[in-house]
Amino acid sequence: MSATDAAPAAATQASASASTLRRLHPLTPFFRSWQLVGALAASGFGVFRDDLDKLKWIWRALHGDVEVSLLMRAVGVLLLVALALVFVSWLSWRVTGFAIITDASPSGTLLYHRGLIVRQRSQVRLNRVQSVDVNQPFLPRLCGLAAVRLDMAAGEGASVNLAYLRRQDAWALRAEILRHTAVARSRPTAATDSTEGAGGELIAEISTARMVQANLLDGVVAWVVLVVWVVALVVGGVVFGWRGLVTVAPGIVPVTVGIAVQLRRQVASMMRDANFRLRRTPTGIQTSSGLTSTINRTIDLDRIQGVRLEEPYLWRRLGWARVGVDIAGASDQSHHGASLMPVADRRDAVALIAEVTGARLDEAAVVPAGAQARWLDPWVARHLGVELLDRGAVTRWGRWRRTQFFVPYARVQSVSARQGPVQRRLGLATVYLDMPSGVQRWQAQHRDMAEAAALVGELAGQARLHRAPLRRLEPTLGTGDR
């Protein structure tokens, strides 16, 4: 936010009296204080763990060996603490509120007031909002509550999380915000976007069976390792006796924990991808997924700065692929990229990419890496390649997890080349495209020198040509001091 924002900001501050603020759902303090109660319980447990005698005391107290009044007093204290917590979070709920006002700028501003002791007042210009997601964590979901999350280009610190609202209210608020952001871009929005479920046209849906299959195939190594490990343990136990196993427990435990972590990740990704649905909305793509907690994310097509098509080894037989997108200023999963399509037939995946970015993969000629590259990277060299399309560049890599990564020229910030000493011997160089933060660096490894020089020239030229400014930024630059 520049200095030009200061003047309208001051004006809006005055105009928004507390009465116009909308409140969050009254149950919010409960969910908020649940976390506090949890923390308290944890610390209480920490105290007792050091002193098992106290636990014994509680046990005896429950059996009536200790004076009842003492126990009552303890319970009373606990209740009091809990009440105090709820009271405090109720107070903070009272001062928390938000409002959308439109007098400062044509696109509207979201005011967000919060903080009991340190008062915080955020003003979010809605035309700077990058995405609006409606999320439902597990417990609030049971009560029909949802949180609205606004992501800004600046990333993690700048996002606003309005938690919690009634589910309908959350979706209505999202629609309202989207209307305002759409005004800024003078683009038509359909009202259908607002309604949950029916919003937008359903493009794809993944059956649970397929999702589970895909995840199992993708993580087959972890499962195989688990089976081998368990078999090894049982055989070891039978042969050397179970007591023998106990003596080598220091070796067994870390390995088991390692495998468990891997599997947990697998299960988490299954939970995350369950019930996956992909919808088209007027401004972008909307995905919703999740088994226990539902995550809805709206991806504005303008924000997509990189797309990858992944084909794990075992999926290739089945012709399956996964599509991920990199988004500028993405707060979470910035390294793996948000999943646009956890699993689909390859043809559909390629079609989806074409629709989302206009990139037609597999249509241009793939230029492989230099012949000398096999000395540097004998396993992967054959799978490296570059493909130049009209709108962007694709790089390929990966032997087991074959990946194609596309970035549009319009987002390329600079072009770099690098050559290490070994590469120089072999006459190779690596070419990079530097992308905005939140996007993986595009790299074409081990190109032949002559070809690398041509590639750098070509990519720099294209980056220059495709400097189409972001539609979102343009009006704000002009209207800042209007």
Partner: protein
């Protein structure tokens, strides 16, 4: 070597490549002076320890200290006469009509091409040493964190000219993210 592929990638012929000021060598050598002093101190300390104690193992300690000192001294000398001059002489930049090229590195060569329209900030900075020497560092910042476009050792007046020229070109060609 004039038209080898290396030349074509990292130092495109037909462009007006400008080197950085040789004064950068002085700035870069200063930390080596510290290393040199550290090596000498180690040497002196090792000798002192060896002289003080006649006990068994004193020889070993002395050898250890002189080994470390020798490593520091050799490092300082190699850096002084070999690494720093080569690194400085390899640092070059060229302005094209639409973009700026920065090329650097001897062991690991790097080239960065920044279209003027992508520049967000042009930074001219000088630390006390470089200010004394009359040189400055020009840094180009884009929306990407991985853009590595730093030109150290530009004479202050040239740096100011460069900054103004780049700013003007950048303004004419501004683009969004």
């Amino acid at each position: 070597m004039s038209d080898s592929p290396v030349q074509r990638l990292f130092a495109e012929p037909g462009l007006e490549w400008r080197s950085v000021s040789p004064k950068l060598t002085i700035e870069r050598r200063l930390p080596l002076l510290g290393l040199l002093l550290f090596g000498l101190a180690l040497l002196a300390f090792g000798r002192f320890v060896a002289e003080q104690s006649e006990a068994a193992g004193a020889d070993l300690t002395g050898a250890l200290f002189s080994g470390l000192a020798a490593a520091a001294l050799v490092g300082a000398v190699v850096g002084w006469f070999f690494v720093v001059p080569r690194v400085v002489s390899a640092w070059r930049y060229a302005e094209r009509e639409q973009d700026l090229l920065v090329s650097r590195g001897r062991l690991v060569r790097r080239l960065t091409v920044i279209p003027y329209g992508r520049m967000q900030v042009i930074e001219v900075s000088a630390n006390p040493v470089s200010a004394r020497l009359g040189i400055a560092t020009v840094t180009l910042v884009t929306a990407s964190a991985s853009t590595d476009a730093r030109i150290p050792g530009v004479p202050v007046d040239v740096a100011q000219e460069l900054r103004d020229r780049l700013a003007a070109k950048g303004e004419a060609l501004t683009a969004g993210l």
